[in-house]
C-alpha cells in the first residue's frame, strides 16, 4: 500500500506521461497535423539544438532580467506603498479609489503607451512588468496591515508599545503572509509583463522568439521557448513557496 505522498507523486508522473504520449500519438498517427500541434519529440529535438547555442539562452536571459527586475522593483514599491497606506489613517481612504481604478485597468494595455514613452528596449518591458506587479502587491500588503486582530493591537498598547514598536513588532510581521502570497502571484504577472512588452516591439527575448517563429508558422519554434519559460516560472514559484515555508513555520505547526 503506497503512502499518500507516494500516491501523489505517482499520480503526477502518470498525468505527465499520459499527456506526452497522447500528444506524440496524435501527431505520429496523423490524427492532427504536426503543423498545428508539433510533437514532443520534435520539441525535444529542437530544444537540444537550441540549448547548445548561446543565442537562445541570451533571449531567455533578456526576458528573465526584464521580468525579475520588474518583480523586485514592483514588489519593493508595492510593499512600501501598502505599508504606508495601511498605517496611515488618512492616506488609505484618500488613495483607495485611485488604486482600485488602476487595478481595474487592464494594465497590459499600457504597453503601447510605454513603448511610445521609453522606446522598444529594456525599459518598456521592465515598466510593464512593474505596473502589473506593483498594484496587487500593494493591495495585499495593505490588506495584511488592516487584517490585524484588534486584540493584538490592544495587547501591544497595554504593554506600552510605541508607534514604531507597534509597526515593527505587530503590523509588519502580521502582513508577511499576505506579502508572500502576493509575491507568489506576482511572479506570473512579471513574466506576462515582459512577454507582452516583447510582443509589442522588441529585438530580443522569448516574446521576440515566439513572435518570429509565429511569423514563419513554426509551431515547434513557438512551443520550445514557451515550455522553457514555463519551467523557469515554475522553479521561481517553488523558490518562493520554500521561502514562505521557512518564514511561516509558525503557521503550519499543529498540536499533536
Amino acid at each position: 500500500m503506497p503512502s499518500r505522498r507516494q500516491t501523489i507523486v505517482l499520480g503526477r508522473l502518470a498525468i505527465l506521461v499520459a499527456v506526452v504520449l497522447a500528444w506524440e500519438a496524435l501527431s505520429r498517427l496523423g490524427l492532427v497535423r504536426t503543423f498545428w500541434i508539433s510533437s514532443p519529440s520534435l520539441i525535444a529535438a529542437r530544444f537540444a539544438e537550441l540549448a547548445g547555442q548561446g543565442e537562445f539562452w541570451f533571449h531567455v536571459y533578456v526576458t528573465l532580467s526584464e521580468a525579475f527586475s520588474g518583480l523586485v522593483a514592483g514588489g519593493t514599491v508595492g510593499i512600501a506603498l501598502g505599508l504606508l497606506v495601511g498605517v496611515s489613517r488618512t492616506a488609505g481612504p484618500i488613495l483607495e479609489p485611485f488604486v482600485i481604478a488602476l487595478n481595474s485597468l487592464p494594465r497590459v494595455a499600457l504597453g503601447p503607451l510605454l513603448v511610445l514613452y521609453v522606446g522598444i528596449g529594456f525599459a518598456s518591458k521592465f515598466l510593464l512588468a512593474f505596473s502589473l506587479v506593483v498594484v496587487p502587491v500593494m493591495l495585499n500588503t495593505y490588506e495584511g496591515i488592516r487584517s490585524v486582530d484588534q486584540t493584538l493591537v490592544n495587547v501591544m498598547r497595554t504593554l506600552q508599545a510605541t508607534r514604531a514598536q507597534l509597526f515593527f513588532k505587530l503590523l509588519l510581521p502580521n502582513a508577511v503572509p499576505w506579502i508572500l502570497s502576493a509575491m507568489r502571484g506576482a511572479v506570473s504577472f512579471a513574466i506576462v509583463g515582459a512577454i507582452v512588452g516583447e510582443f509589442i516591439s522588441a529585438q530580443a527575448g522569448i516574446g521576440f522568439l515566439i513572435d518570429e517563429a509565429s511569423g514563419s508558422f513554426d509551431t515547434t519554434g513557438i512551443m520550445v521557448p514557451l515550455l522553457v519559460l514555463m519551467a523557469l516560472g515554475y522553479a521561481l514559484d517553488c523558490a518562493i513557496v520554500a521561502a514562505s515555508r521557512r518564514l511561516l513555520r509558525w503557521r503550519t505547526l499543529q498540536l499533536n
Partner: protein
C-alpha cells in the same frame, strides 16, 4: 431557602470596598459614557458607575451581555476615552492614555503567532528595553510557575487552549503590574480545562495577592475566585448590587463547590442577574 441580604454589602450606589485592605487601587466616580451607534444615535453605555477597588483586593464583575463590563475595564486601562462626566483613577493617578503598571488579560489569548512561547511572555519586557538575559530569566520563572516549563521554544499553534491562556497570563504578569484587569480570560475554555486553570490561578493569586478586576459571566467562577462581587445592571451599566464572598483562603474548588454557602450565594446573585439578563435580551430584541 435563601437568606435575604446575608452577603449583601450596602446599596447599589455604595462605593465601599468589601474585602481587601489599604488605599484604593481604583476609584471610578460617577462615570457616564455614551457612544454613537451606526445610525448616529447616542447609546448610553455606562451611567453613574461608581466603583472602588482596594489594593490587594480580588474583585469580580458580573453582568448581562453588553452591560459595559469590558468598557469599564477599558476605562481603567486607558484604552477607552471620551467619557462625558465622572472620573477614573488607577494606582493613585487620573487615567490619561495607557496607564503604566496595569496588566490586561483579554478574552482571547492575544498571543503573537509568529513568536515562540518565551518570546510572547517576554514581549512587554522587550518593549520596555529590558536586557535579554533578564527577560529570559523572567519568562523561564513564570513558565515554570504556571506549569509550562519545556514549552519555551514552541509556537502558540502547538499549544492547547488552556496552555495558551496560561501563557497569556504569564505575559501579563511578566512586566510585574500592580493591577491586573482580566476580561473573561477563561471564558473560551472547555469546562474541564477551565476548572483546572481556575484552580491553578487561585493558588497563584493567593501567593502574589495583586489587585485584580475580573470580568466574567460565570457566577461560580466569580464566587470561587473573588473577595467581592459586583453585579452590573443591563445597559446603561451601573452597579446594581455587591456581595462579599465569605470563603477563607487558601481556597480549593472541590471544597467550595460542595459548601451550602456557595449555592446560597450563587442563587442570590442569580436572582439579581436574572432580571438584568432578561431586560438586556429584550433590549437586543428591540434594537
Amino acid at each position: 431557602m435563601i437568606m435575604q441580604g446575608e452577603y449583601l454589602i450596602g446599596g447599589a450606589a455604595s462605593a465601599h470596598p468589601g474585602g481587601g485592605k489599604g488605599r484604593p487601587a481604583i476609584e471610578i466616580d460617577r462615570l457616564h459614557y455614551s457612544a454613537r451607534d451606526r445610525h448616529g444615535r447616542d447609546v448610553r453605555i455606562l451611567e453613574d458607575l461608581s466603583l472602588t477597588v482596594a489594593e490587594g483586593e480580588f474583585l469580580a464583575i458580573v453582568g448581562p451581555s453588553g452591560c459595559g463590563k469590558s468598557t469599564a475595564l477599558n476605562f481603567i486601562a486607558g484604552l477607552a476615552a471620551g467619557h462625558q462626566s465622572g472620573s477614573v483613577r488607577a494606582l493613585g493617578r487620573p487615567v490619561q492614555g495607557i496607564s503604566p503598571g496595569i496588566g490586561y488579560m483579554f478574552q482571547t489569548h492575544g498571543l503573537l503567532p509568529w513568536r515562540t512561547i518565551a518570546q510572547n511572555v517576554e514581549l512587554g519586557l522587550e518593549l520596555k528595553g529590558t536586557p535579554p538575559a533578564e527577560r529570559a530569566a523572567a519568562s523561564a520563572r513564570l513558565l515554570r510557575e504556571l506549569g509550562l516549563a519545556g514549552f519555551e521554544r514552541h509556537y502558540p499553534a502547538e499549544l492547547s487552549g488552556g496552555m495558551r491562556q496560561r501563557v497569556s497570563l504569564a505575559r501579563t504578569l511578566a512586566t510585574d503590574p500592580a493591577l491586573l484587569l482580566m476580561d473573561e480570560p477563561f471564558g473560551a475554555l472547555d469546562a474541564q480545562t477551565k476548572l483546572l486553570v481556575q484552580d491553578g490561578f487561585v493558588a497563584f493569586w493567593e501567593t502574589y495577592r495583586k489587585t485584580v478586576v475580573f470580568v466574567t459571566h460565570d457566577l461560580a467562577e466569580a464566587i470561587f475566585l473573588a473577595d467581592r462581587i459586583v453585579v452590573m445592571s443591563a445597559r446603561p451599566g451601573r452597579v446594581k448590587a455587591q456581595y462579599a464572598v465569605p470563603f477563607a483562603r487558601p481556597r480549593r474548588l472541590a471544597a467550595i463547590r460542595t459548601d451550602q454557602a456557595f449555592s446560597d450565594l450563587w442563587e442570590r446573585i442569580w436572582l439579581d442577574l436574572e432580571d438584568e439578563a432578561r431586560s438586556s435580551m429584550q433590549g437586543v430584541a428591540h434594537a
